[in-house]
């Protein structure tokens, strides 16, 4: 079942000449994980905002085309209505803190209160989200007392607790250490196995290649590519697109070693192709 349908999406910020999003179209199946990559200011964050309705409802400007998320046309729904189907984690976790709750636990429960869930349901969902993101020990702290990395985990927990059918994450691991990054990606893996559709903007190509089913490459507001990691990272024109392949792929490219028609994109794939030697 198609969970995200984007059709000829066009958007221009007020007082800007250039289109921030230029005729973007793609579709995402239920439970798929999509990595969005590309240079900064290529439209990745704007696309995230459009998927949840912040564009055009908060950011005015010229808007064209359609975004349909879990059957709901975003243009005709309020952001709060859309929030029940699609969640977003902002690039800056600090701006995601509601500022009205005194503990991490209450902060994560905020969305569930707005959904009108029973207390028992809330506790179950908040506990699971806190454990999944490994921040349960911080549950009684003030949200503003957390470090950047912990805040990033709390922001993700606050959204996944609401159990949207789609989750959009804008660089959710920028302030996390390698282990924290790995934990976020494996949490997304677990949720997608349960049917959640994941759209994630990320600069760490090795993680994108390892975890995502498909990659959307953005360039100057346009869709430059939308395909499997192997196909995308095997292209010769990556530097023109402003992206870099995973280290593993670069090594295989330099040595001319393919696996089938494409270069490997993961550690295991590269090791297989290059062959173990003792």
């Amino acid at each position: 079942m198609k969970k995200v349908i984007v059709e000829n999406l066009k958007y221009r910020y007020p007082a800007m000449k250039q289109l921030a999003l230029d005729e973007i179209s793609f579709e995402v199946e239920e439970g798929e994980k999509i990595g969005v990559i590309g240079r900064n200011s290529s439209g990745k964050s704007t696309l995230c905002q459009a998927l949840v309705g912040l564009t055009p409802h908060f950011y005015k400007g010229t808007y064209g085309g359609r975004v349909i998320v879990d059957g709901l046309e975003i243009k005709h729904a309020t952001v709060s209505e859309a929030a029940l189907k699609v969640g977003i984690v902002f690039q800056n976790p600090f701006t995601q803190v509601t500022g009205a709750k005194l503990t991490v636990y209450e902060e994560v429960a905020f969305g569930l209160e707005n959904m009108g869930l029973s207390r028992a349901e809330m506790i179950e969902k908040v506990d699971r989200a806190l454990h999944l993101l490994n921040i349960y020990p911080f549950r009684n702290q003030n949200p503003f007392s957390l470090s950047g990395g912990q805040m990033q985990r709390m922001a993700i927990a606050g959204i996944i607790a609401m159990r949207p059918s789609i989750i959009v994450l804008d660089e959710p691991t920028s302030q996390l250490d390698p282990q924290g990054t790995e934990e976020v990606f494996s949490a997304m893996d677990e949720l997608s196995a349960e049917g959640m559709t994941v759209v994630i903007v990320e600069h760490k190509m090795e993680k994108v290649a390892q975890y995502c089913d498909k990659i959307l490459v953005m360039k100057d507001g346009k869709r430059a590519a939308f395909d499997t990691p192997a196909k995308v990272f095997s292209r010769d024109d990556l530097s023109e697109l402003g992206v870099c392949a995973p280290v593993y792929t670069n090594i295989c490219k330099a040595l001319g070693k393919k696996e089938g028609a494409y270069y490997p994109v993961t550690l295991a794939g590269a090791a297989r192709v290059l062959g173990a030697r003792r």
Binding site: Q91, G149, G180, Y248, N250
Partner: protein, 273 residues
């Protein structure tokens, strides 16, 4: 250039009447010397890395131990005076930027440490040129993208022309091109004879730019050595919840005998074989 002896630090204040015996220390008994080698401090979130550099910079005061920067005892001077010798790029750009335009922001540091107007302008323009921000001189820093904010922070500190420069997570939210810019700056500063230190989670970046690595774990210095030496100590890395650079991971899983830290190393090694 920097000398640290038996440094202890805690965020929990001592009770005036009786010392707090169960006080948690963010840093425990750290001793090290910083020389001109480009040095990366790595470790988990919360390992004490940022706390450590804030002490070097004079923004926090150690509970015990001695820190000297360019021969000056940090406890006997102020952060403002230390700013002439040591520059720090904050982890979160939003915490560092406070002026109304890119130009004012970059000029702020140099003018404050007593650089002349002309010299400051020259130094600032050079730094902004390198970061490709010189076409945005009148932009409000808060209107920049996060990645550009970070580059502006680096340029603002670089313009102060201090002998020591510390970069706290310089590659945060940088794309491929931005990452290359940061790499270029680090190499440039090294070539100018400055002492460059960084805190960073991107191990491949470390492998490409830094000679010396210090590993922090739960407030203690776990390892200190050359990049090859540190990254090949699998046991210690595991203890610090870190992993070697991706290139080295591949080299290890292929059973290459040599410690190949970077893409180029692995390719060269494979070609030779």
């Amino acid at each position: 250039m920097i000398s640290v002896q038996n440094l202890w630090f805690s965020y929990e204040p001592d009770d005036r009447k009786r010392p707090n015996p169960d006080k948690k220390y963010a840093l425990r008994d750290i001793s090290l010397e910083i020389d001109k080698r480009p040095t990366a401090i790595i470790g988990q979130n919360g390992a004490g890395k940022t706390t450590f550099v804030r002490i070097l910079k004079g923004l926090l005061t150690a509970n015990r131990g001695a820190v000297t920067v360019m021969g000056e005892d940090v406890s006997r001077t102020t952060a403002a005076r230390l700013a002439r010798n040591i520059g720090l790029v904050f982890q979160n750009p939003n915490d560092q930027l406070f002026k109304k335009t890119v130009m004012d922001e970059a000029m702020f540091g140099p003018l404050n440490i007593g650089m002349g107007e002309g010299a400051a302008r020259k130094s600032v323009m050079r730094a902004l040129d390198i970061m490709e921000l010189s076409d945005k001189l009148d932009t409000n820093p808060h209107d920049l993208a996060l990645s550009d904010k970070k580059l502006l922070c680096i340029a603002s500190v670089m313009a102060m022309d201090t002998d020591i420069i510390i970069l706290d997570e310089p590659t945060i939210s940088q794309d491929y091109v931005g990452r290359e810019k940061v790499k270029r700056v680090i190499r440039l500063l090294r070539d100018e004879g400055k002492s460059v230190m960084t805190i960073i989670h991107d191990m491949d970046f470390v492998a490409e730019c830094f000679e010396r690595i210090i590993v922090f774990n739960e407030g203690e210095k776990l390892l200190d050595g050359g990049a090859k030496e540190v990254f090949s100590d699998a046991e210690m890395l595991k203890k610090a919840h870190l992993e070697p650079p991706y290139a080295l991971q591949l080299a290890i899983s292929m059973g290459l005998g040599e410690v190949c830290l970077t893409e180029a190393d692995v390719i060269r090694c494979m070609m030779e074989a």
